[in-house]
């Protein structure tokens, strides 16, 4: 199920503004890759190019190649809608659908794609909520509005919603930044379990979190405000945090800038 992502020579623009330049990297399947770097260096932008969400932004444009196993996501005739079914996404702020119940939120991806068999949906909803470590907390209130959950529960609901459509890759943009330490821990544990099945990419500003959950870490940086962000280095997390090969990475991690 999990797939390898292979990016080469990727540029992303907002209108005429080049936000990230010439990024090449490989993300291994069944592993967690963390993106770190100062604010505005293009981590979110890069993440969104991996499931073709970047072009949803007005003026958003991408050059280069993103291979998902054998397929170039930006090749001719590729349907972005189909890409997004393979590459799921969890956003920084929990965003459950406010008109839907907990159950409907999790089933949304399947339903909106035309699957309606009740027994099938029941199974998927239960499986996904269990996968997101939320089942025990919500099993008695599946028909209550999803927006009535706590922030941490909502975020796990969004994770359940994302894994319900069984993607190959799961992208997470600062999934814990709005959460308390306990919910954060719950989600970090969850990420550890999910990597058995999915390829996971996570953006985080929390170094300890990157060190705790990820197998590999990518450090992004930008030369100056208004300049495009670049990938500085990508290596095993242990190496990045103990003995990085680029000075800028060490400076950033030890808190000397950024």
């Amino acid at each position: 199920m999990a797939k390898r992502i292979d990016v080469s020579g990727l540029n992303a623009y907002y209108g005429s503004f080049l936000a990230i330049e010439d990024i090449s990297m490989t993300v291994e399947p069944r592993s967690v890759t963390a993106f770190i770097g100062p604010s505005g260096c293009g981590k979110s932008t890069f993440l969104r190019t991996l499931n073709r969400m970047h072009e949803v932004t007005p003026g958003g444009r991408v050059e280069g190649k993103v291979m998902l196993d054998e397929e170039n996501l930006y090749g001719a005739g590729i349907d972005p809608v189909a890409v997004r079914r393979e590459v799921g996404m969890v956003f920084q702020r929990p965003n459950p659908f406010p008109t839907m119940s907990v159950y409907d939120n999790v089933a949304a991806g399947l339903r909106l794609n035309g699957k309606h068999k009740k027994s099938e949906l029941d199974d998927v909803v239960e499986k996904s909520l269990k996968g997101a470590n939320l089942w025990n907390e919500v099993k008695d209130r599946l028909n209550k509005p999803g927006s009535g959950l706590s922030g941490g529960q909502q975020q796990r609901l969004c994770i359940a919603r994302a894994i319900a459509v069984e993607p190959n890759v799961l992208l997470m943009d600062e999934p814990c930044s709005a959460l308390d330490p306990i919910s954060t821990l719950a989600i970090e544990d969850l990420i550890g379990e999910l990597k058995e099945q999915f390829t996971i990419v996570i953006v985080t500003h929390n170094m300890q979190q990157a060190a705790r959950v990820s197998d590999r870490t990518a450090f992004f940086n930008l030369a100056a405000v208004g300049q495009p962000g670049k990938l500085i280095e990508l290596d095993d997390t242990e190496r990045i945090f103990s003995n990085p090969s680029v000075q800028a990475t060490e400076d950033y991690i030890s808190g000397r800038f950024g």
């Binding site: 189909a82 997004r84 079914r85 393979e86 996404m89 965003n95 659908f97 406010p98 909106l112 009535g148």
Partner: protein
């Protein structure tokens, strides 16, 4: 040491405050003063003493409060009292309008009145009713809504979800222009198109077309605002699940905003229900029941009110009928508003457990 704890120090956080009843007392005082001044000066109009009292109220609250509480609180009180005065200025005419209409309208308003036409009753005689007018108004407004709601909602969806560049700008411009069209001009437009060029006779449908010219821009505007309120995050959440854009709009964006859209539509309906000019030009009027909105003149509430009032010379019966019809019209619009609110509340995104 002990001295300091016994005597409370003057706190910098606490200042002199006027009691809670201060504002009501000043209001009562200003009304009394206003009445006194105007009777002393020999003024008889309610408006004159009302305005005097309003000015007194604002000035007195400011003056007294500035003396006692200081200038910041005084400004706060001035703003508050201005808001109250403005509120009363807006509400008093409305309340008196409703009062007048109810008082004069209830005389002949009964089931018989609502279920009979004017077919066999001369305008000067008592009896008769507004069944034909209610029927006509419902059909004309219903048809207008049937035309305007799909056109308006789809236009708004285009503008908010898809519209980029020149076409969207042009559409926005034309919607703005349409918002400003006087109803008589909308009527004349359909008149020249439908009656003069296509040689069709007057009918409820012709009126509906003119009414929908008035209704479409209102629906577009209100729907646009409601769609813009839907957070982008919800659209992105849905798109990121691999849901096509049109399905995202249909299943996520519209359900989230349907309460507000319905309210907008109801208010637009309420707005065109009272339109008289296009109806006068295109639907004409009749004293008989005409259930077919596509052929021959139809009655309508606004025209009925106007004609009964015009023909009431020397006849209390027609006069009473005009007011009763006006009351029916107001009641209809109020019910629409209440229904709109109910729907908005029922469909609002749910929170809570």
């Amino acid at each position: 040491m002990s001295h300091a704890t016994l005597l409370p120090k003057p706190s910098s956080l606490r200042g002199a405050t006027l009691p809670k009843w201060f504002s009501s007392a000043v209001a009562a005082g200003s009304v009394a003063l206003g009445l006194g001044i105007s009777s002393a000066a020999g003024l008889h109009s309610d408006i004159q003493w009302g305005l005097i009292a309003a000015v007194l109220f604002v000035v007195l609250s400011y003056g007294i409060s500035a003396k006692v509480e200081g200038s910041r609180q005084a400004k706060d009180r001035t703003a508050t009292s201005l808001v109250w005065v403005a509120f009363l200025l807006a509400v008093v005419p409305l309340a008196s309008l409703i009062w007048e209409t109810v008082e004069r309208g209830v005389k002949v308003l009964d089931v018989y009145f609502l279920t009979h036409s004017m077919g066999v009753v001369a305008d000067t005689e008592p009896g008769g009713g507004i069944y034909h007018a209610i029927l006509g108004t419902l059909e004309q407004v219903g048809l207008a809504a049937l035309i305007s709601v799909p056109v308006g909602v789809l236009t708004a969806i285009y503008l908010v979800e898809y519209g980029r560049g020149r076409l969207a700008k042009a559409v926005t411009f034309f919607v703005d222009v349409m918002t400003g069209i006087p109803s008589i001009v909308a009527g004349l437009f359909i008149l020249s198109l439908w009656v003069l060029i296509l040689k069709m006779g007057p009918s409820g449908f012709a009126g509906s077309m003119a009414l929908s010219i008035l209704m479409i821009p209102i629906v577009v505007r209100s729907t646009e605002e409601m769609l813009k309120l839907v957070p982008n995050e919800l659209r992105e959440a849905s798109l990121a699940l691999g849901v096509p854009k049109w399905r995202t709009i249909l299943k996520v964006v519209l359900p989230t905003s349907v309460g507000g859209i319905t309210t907008g539509v109801m208010l637009a309906v309420a707005r065109i229900t009272g339109e008289t000019a296009p109806v006068l030009l295109l639907v004409w009027v009749t004293n008989y029941i005409n259930t077919n909105p596509f052929k021959d003149p139809q009655a309508s509430l606004p025209m009925y009110i106007y004609l009964q009032y015009m023909n009431s010379a020397g006849s209390g019966a027609a006069y009473d009928r005009a007011w009763a019809a006006a009351l029916t019209l107001i009641a209809f619009i109020m019910i629409l508003n209440l229904v709109a609110q109910g729907i908005a509340r029922w469909k609002a995104p749910k929170t809570g457990r």
